[in-house]
């Protein structure tokens, strides 16, 4: 019999105000003792539904006010702190101006209530295949600074996702900052989200296309795909096909078909794998037509 839980299990709550304290907890805590959360929009329902084992202590990261920032510099690019909400990213003027594809993706997530709480860092740390910010961050070549007691390391976003719901972060490690290099100023792109409802829905297919064209040729074109594989990924074969190729309908169609063949979607109640693959072709074609128009 299915049991419906609507209440949280018994656990304690703490809200440290320094990163050091959190790294100590992670390094010294026993398995299952602590669970870190930022917005909680994903983890609270999972704990309520007993999908994940509840910790002894729920650790609220929002005490780390210093990690809520969006900073942009012409040389080093964009830096987004781990506690920056999806709302802040979607509303940020500098992101709208320099990285419109990211504000588009952020704005397409769930509802206002969720965006007010959820963080971009949390969106990728959850590593669901349909995470809307992932295809955009993939094509922007985002780099992630992760930190633990052993020190900091940088991970490229295309190496970050391991499998559905799992990243390569070590158990005692947290994501601290997302960095995005300054893109070529001629770069154009968009995030296309296919979902039955226009709001408050998960992507059936998410496609981010970002690229430059010069003198009738495709230059650096990047294609990020979400919800059509175990993890969000770049359609590298389609990208290679386009590079330095003269723009015409045939190459656009070929690249779209190639991207579709690179995807490995599953069948589920949202859509069949076959439909998803066909939609990758349609959306990649649409994205490419947009950047050459």
């Amino acid at each position: 019999m299915t049991v419906f839980y609507r209440r949280m299990p018994k656990m304690d709550y703490m809200r440290p105000d320094s990163l050091d304290q959190i790294l100590d907890l992670l390094a010294e805590g026993e398995t299952g003792q602590y669970k870190m959360y930022a917005g909680g929009t994903d983890i609270i329902p999972k704990i309520k539904k007993r999908i994940i084992n509840h910790p002894q202590i729920l650790v609220d990261l929002k005490g780390l006010k210093a990690l809520d920032y969006i900073e942009y510099d012409e040389k080093s690019g964009l830096r987004i702190g781990a506690l920056t909400t999806v709302r802040s990213v979607a509303h940020s003027l500098v992101i709208k101006e320099k990285f419109p594809i990211l504000s588009q993706a952020a704005d397409s997530i769930a509802s206002i209530q969720i965006r007010n709480r959820a963080t971009i860092a949390g969106n990728i740390c959850n590593a669901v295949p349909s995470a809307d910010s992932a295809p955009a961050l993939l094509v922007l070549n985002a780099e992630l600074t992760c930190i633990s007691r052993d020190g900091e390391r940088k991970i490229l976003i295309n190496e970050f996702f391991h499998s559905p719901g799992k990243t390569i972060l070590a158990p005692h490690e947290v994501l601290k900052e997302i960095q995005i290099p300054v893109p070529d100023k001629n770069m154009r792109g968009l995030y296309l989200k296919l979902s039955p409802r226009s709001r408050m829905d998960l992507a059936v297919v998410g496609v981010a296309v970002l690229g430059t064209v010069k003198a009738g040729m495709f230059k650096d074109v990047r294609i990020g795909l979400g919800a059509v594989g175990p993890v969000p990924f770049r359609a590298k074969n389609a990208e290679t096909l386009l590079k330095d190729f003269k723009i015409d309908d045939k190459i656009v169609n070929d690249a779209a078909r190639t991207a579709a063949s690179e995807s490995r979607p599953i069948d589920d109640h949202r859509a069949s794998g076959e439909y998803r693959r066909m939609m990758v072709e349609v959306l990649v074609r649409r994205g490419l037509k947009d950047i050459i128009s």
């Binding site: 304690d12 729920l58 209530q113 007010n116």
Partner: protein
């Protein structure tokens, strides 16, 4: 497990109480403070019926650990009226039949409040966007859009 003490402002009033650290804000509002205007629908952040305003922003109170309300400011549907005088948004919902069963209404009105505070004269598209996180299974939304639109007109007239 020990109860913990939190202090916060609820509907303009200071309040201090002891809660279980695993309670959600929604549970504290309904069970401890008996503010049952805020409803629990899905309990997992999909339907928006538990929407309240915390720190000036709408949140799904079913997803907020109540401990987070400590030192914060929370506004619920009960905090909108002035004595027996309904808030203009509430009046507009009554006037324009922006509800049928009424279960989604408190959440709808809280979302509408934040919208009208930020944009006193929203477009139809902005109204739709503002309540996209609030599900209504009765009205088909048209009456809700009309109510919010009428509220924005009424509130402009008062300023």
């Amino acid at each position: 497990m020990e109860k913990k003490r939190i202090r916060f402002t609820i509907n303009g009033r200071e309040c201090e109480l002891e809660i279980k650290p695993w309670q959600t804000l929604l549970e504290v509002l309904r069970d401890d403070l008996k503010l049952t205007g805020t409803k629990e629908g899905c309990g997992e952040g999909e339907c928006g019926s538990c929407t309240v305003i915390m720190g000036g922003r709408t949140v799904n109170s079913c997803l907020v650990p109540a401990m987070e309300a400590d030192n914060n400011e929370v506004l619920t549907i009960e905090g909108l009226s002035l004595g027996n005088k309904l808030h203009p948004i509430q009046e507009a919902f009554v006037e324009h039949s922006g509800m049928q069963c009424g279960f989604c209404t408190p959440g709808m009105i809280m979302s509408a409040k934040v919208l009208l505070d930020e944009k006193p004269d929203p477009s139809h598209e902005e109204i739709r966007e503002a309540i996209s996180g609030n599900l209504c299974r009765c009205t088909g939304y048209t009456k809700i859009f009309e109510s919010i639109s009428a509220a924005s007109q009424a509130m402009k007239g008062r300023k």
